[in-house]
Amino acid sequence: MQKTFLKTIQLHQNIIHKVSRMYRDTREDQQDLFQEIVYQLWKSFPGFRGDSKISTWIYRIALNTSMATFRKQKTLLEFPENIPDNYQYTDQQDMSENEERMYEALRQLNDSEKAIISLFLEDYSYHEIASIIGIKENYVGVKINRIKEKLKLILNR
């Protein structure tokens, strides 16, 4: 079973990377969260019966873990008024400007907004988002419109 699990996670690990970077600010915290998500996925794997797509299941566990395992802020984080045009990543990774601008913008949303918008950006339908989050389908539309407006403001600052 572990072999199947590892192959599955390796194929879909981009989801975990994206969620970890959206919910945590520092490289160290992102790696810790990545590890926590993999651990939770492994624990939940025997209960996965294939009722949903594997990527949907990974998203649900990853978002749930990210919100449930919050971190104490080591230093006071103040978000800049403007998204930096040229952000230097601590690990000297070769990251595109757009990529970091995007994460910076997403990190300014609250935890529930991050969950909803990540599923929307991944092209999940309102029905699927409603089922992963556990809210009514028509609420999803309202919330997504609100988050889009908020993101527009953040990105145009």
Binding site: Q2, Q10, E36, Y39, M67, M102, D111, L121, I133, L155
Partner: protein, 182 residues
């Protein structure tokens, strides 16, 4: 950058890659960033309290105390250890529902129960210590010092435990409000 750019960018993100071996390491509690430390703390505290139970009989004249006073002290220590074990499992199992909202609601219920249990443990502990040490004992200055030291140590431990649970409850209540706010 607009929403459409965000959408197309999002799909191309997350290209860093861990090997199967690295992922396998992540499935073990021993490599878990938080649980490993928590488990160690749990073992150290349980070890310390069990040692205390063995030592107290001679050190604090346990053999001169009534049976009920000794029993009360043992129950109190066991309650404290149980409280810690419940807390560990709560942190170990953050997925508590078949959707995110359901999981958050269940987390709140669990945390409420644990906060209450924590408070009961603290009260029980305070009563037990006072009763145990005031029953048939000849107080010497050093015994007073030890008693005060123990009360302060455990009061501080329970205070921080209670504060931690309150903070966790606050976090999940905030999440619930965010999801339900339409």
């Amino acid at each position: 950058m607009d929403i459409d750019d965000l959408k197309s960018n999002w799909k191309n993100l997350g290209n860093e890659s861990f090997s199967e071996k690295q992922l396998q390491m992540m499935t073990k509690v021993n490599n878990h960033p938080t649980l490993k430390k928590l488990r160690l703390k749990l073992i150290i505290e349980a070890g310390f309290l069990t040692t205390l139970l063995f030592v107290y009989y001679d050190g604090f004249d346990g053999h001169t105390k009534p049976f009920w006073a000794n029993s009360l002290l043992i129950i109190c220590v066991l309650f404290y250890i149980t409280n810690n074990v419940f807390g560990y499992f709560q942190i170990k199992n953050p997925i508590q529902g078949n959707n995110i909202l359901n999981s958050v609601q269940n987390q709140i219920k669990t945390i409420k129960r644990l906060t209450l249990f924590s408070a009961v443990c603290a009260i029980l502990y305070a009563i037990t210590l006072l009763v145990f040490f005031s029953v048939s004992i000849e107080f010497t200055p050093s015994k007073y010092m030890i008693l005060v030291g123990l009360i302060i140590t455990f009061a501080v431990m329970f205070y921080f435990s209670f504060k931690r649970w309150k903070k966790r409850a606050g976090h999940f209540n905030k999440l619930l409000n965010e999801f339900e706010d339409i």
